[in-house]
């Protein structure tokens, strides 16, 4: 939190000193009020989400996190319409959605981290000035592109390509009683998330690389390091806090992404089978966040509403933990850097 200390005020006001101080007081008061309002707002949203989602947890206990007899989509459907006999239905086993979130986010991070790091090194250290000046704004634009654009690109352009080129028809026929294999699947979800988060990571990594003191690099070169060794041993080490912060920020965006993944991951809360080999990545999933958008039309059912808010609780906890974890990790990395 920002604190306003005396030196901020012009020590020798030319004229109207008293009124400037009063203006300061008002300014400070307004800022405090705004921050307090934001804090109260965030606190009430958190309390509200927990309150509405609680019945879903309390009805299912720890099995909320497990797998159930009925597929998740059927459970969500029953919680909206009632079970086949028309009775209230509160069972929920959310593992398929949790797994979907883990798979897409994890895959995208594994794919985008090396890619982003190497791109950042190229842009910040190796690229000719004019090329870097050209690439910089492109990365920023890509990082700020609304996710629905990536979703549309995925479903309209990439999905047909995957459908026609990667899915053998005989395997699709064999598996079709269990699940419909289409171009939208885990792989497409990972690809679209990678497209979304890699530019974000590149931008943060490149900024950090540029901030590494030239003296350090020159020192390494003077000691006989070649450029690659200098990058590896000096630059990358120096930006470790930024690597942690950038990756966590990207992870937060990936975990919470709803719209693009709703379009890209195949729209079934399926549990991909690791025994299917590379087909594992061609099977559909539905993530926590995209379940919320996909089913949001059904909020009038209290059971479904509790289930979707419970998904929200998990997302809130995850992103909060990520943010706090990133702060701690990046501080630890900074400390180590300062000490070594």
């Amino acid at each position: 939190m920002a604190t306003f200390t005396r030196p901020l005020v012009d020590p020798q006001p030319q004229s109207g000193g008293a009124s400037a101080t009063r203006a300061d007081g008002i300014f400070r008061g307004v800022l405090i009020a705004i921050s307090a309002f934001m804090l109260i707002l965030i606190a009430s949203i958190t309390i509200f989400v927990f309150y509405v989602g609680w019945p879903s947890f309390s009805a299912n206990g720890l099995s909320w996190f497990g797998t159930g007899d009925e597929p998740l989509d059927i459970q969500l459907g029953y919680s909206f319409l009632g079970d086949p006999e028309g009775g209230r239905y509160t069972t929920l086993n959310a593992w398929p959605a949790i797994l979907g979130t883990l798979l897409t986010t994890g895959g995208a991070l594994l794919l985008s981290f090396p890619f982003a790091l190497l791109s950042a090194i190229f842009i910040a250290e190796l690229a000719p000035k004019r090329l870097a000046a050209f690439l910089d704004p492109i990365v920023s634009i890509l990082a700020a592109t609304p996710s629905v654009i990536y979703g549309l690109f995925a479903i309209l352009v990439l999905a047909p390509l995957i459908e026609q080129n990667l899915i053998p028809q005989d395997k699709a026929e064999e598996i079709s009683p269990v699940v419909t294999l289409t171009g939208a699947n885990v792989l497409l979800g990972i690809l679209v998330l990678t497209l979304m988060i890699a530019p974000l990571m590149i931008a943060i990594f490149a900024d950090a690389l540029r901030a590494v003191p030239v003296k350090w690099k020159e020192g390494a070169i003077a000691l006989g390091c070649d450029e690659w060794r200098m990058t590896r041993r000096v630059s990358i080490r120096a930006i470790r806090p930024a690597l942690v912060a950038g990756t966590t920020l990207a992870m937060g965006r990936a975990v919470g992404e709803a719209i693009a993944l709703s379009m890209a991951t195949g729209s079934i809360a399926f549990i991909p089978n690791p025994l299917d080999g590379y087909f594992f990545f061609l099977e559909p999933v539905r993530t926590l966040a995209s379940s919320i958008v996909d089913y949001s039309e059904g909020f009038e059912s209290p059971e479904l509403k509790a289930n979707l808010f419970a998904f929200g609780v998990i997302l809130l906890i995850t992103t909060a933990a990520l943010t706090i974890g990133a702060k701690i990790a990046s501080r630890a990395a900074e400390k180590k850097l300062g000490g070594s």
Binding site: G77, P160, S267
Partner: protein
Amino acid sequence: MKKQILILAVTMAALAAFAGTATAATKIITGGSTGLQVLGSALAAQYGKETGGKYRVTVSGGGSGAGQTGAANGTFQIGNSSSDKSSSTPAGTVFTPITKEPFAIIVNKSNPIKGLTGEQVKQIFLGQITNWKDVGWAAGGAIKCFSRVSTSGTRQSFQKLFLGNINTPVSNSCPALASNALDRSSVANTKGGIAYVTYAYTVGSGGATVKTIPIDGVTPTLQNVVSNKYKYWNCQYFVTKGEPAGDVKTYIDWVRSSKGAAVIKNYAVPFTGTYDQCVS
């Protein structure tokens, strides 16, 4: 300073103008089903015109469920719903049918089949038939069925019309997509694709990207619903809290009159029967 006065004056004038329109017309707030949004807006515009601007009907989206809840809690004076009453429908709501809307089965344009029977559609979407060779396309390969999320009014109506019960779920092997439009583009992009959509999605340039097939030998057209040949249709409703009354009743009566029918017949089949006739 002059500029500030000018801005102030303009703002005041705008506010006055806004207040003027607000008092001049009586507002009727409607909303809900996205499937009814286009028709609802057309009806609203025509009603405003015919009453000389005395009434202003607003139409917003949110889904059939939101329409039903909104009618019950007063957000909407009229809630739009494309689906019948369900166990989630708030008590005390009255459903007034205004149209019959055909439901169609669409397949990829490369699909050579001439049509399906209602029973075949049922078996496909229950996951009992999974290969095109079983319904007349030897080289078709896997049937790739596309469905909607279970909160969708379109899905509920499909389950009622083709699977026999609103609570009989479509096979979980079919991807449950978030909109009619996504279903259509998935079928357009997938060789073995099949999906159910409302009539509106089978016409126009979008409708031309897929093939609409006859069911039991009858093509889903408005004409075939009027003549009772095509039996896979569902009613669309205006939902009110209690029986319609006052300005709302006047509007609903107008929609159900020949004047309203003249607008409706461009989008669906006008229907002035009772709720029971819709669900029986």
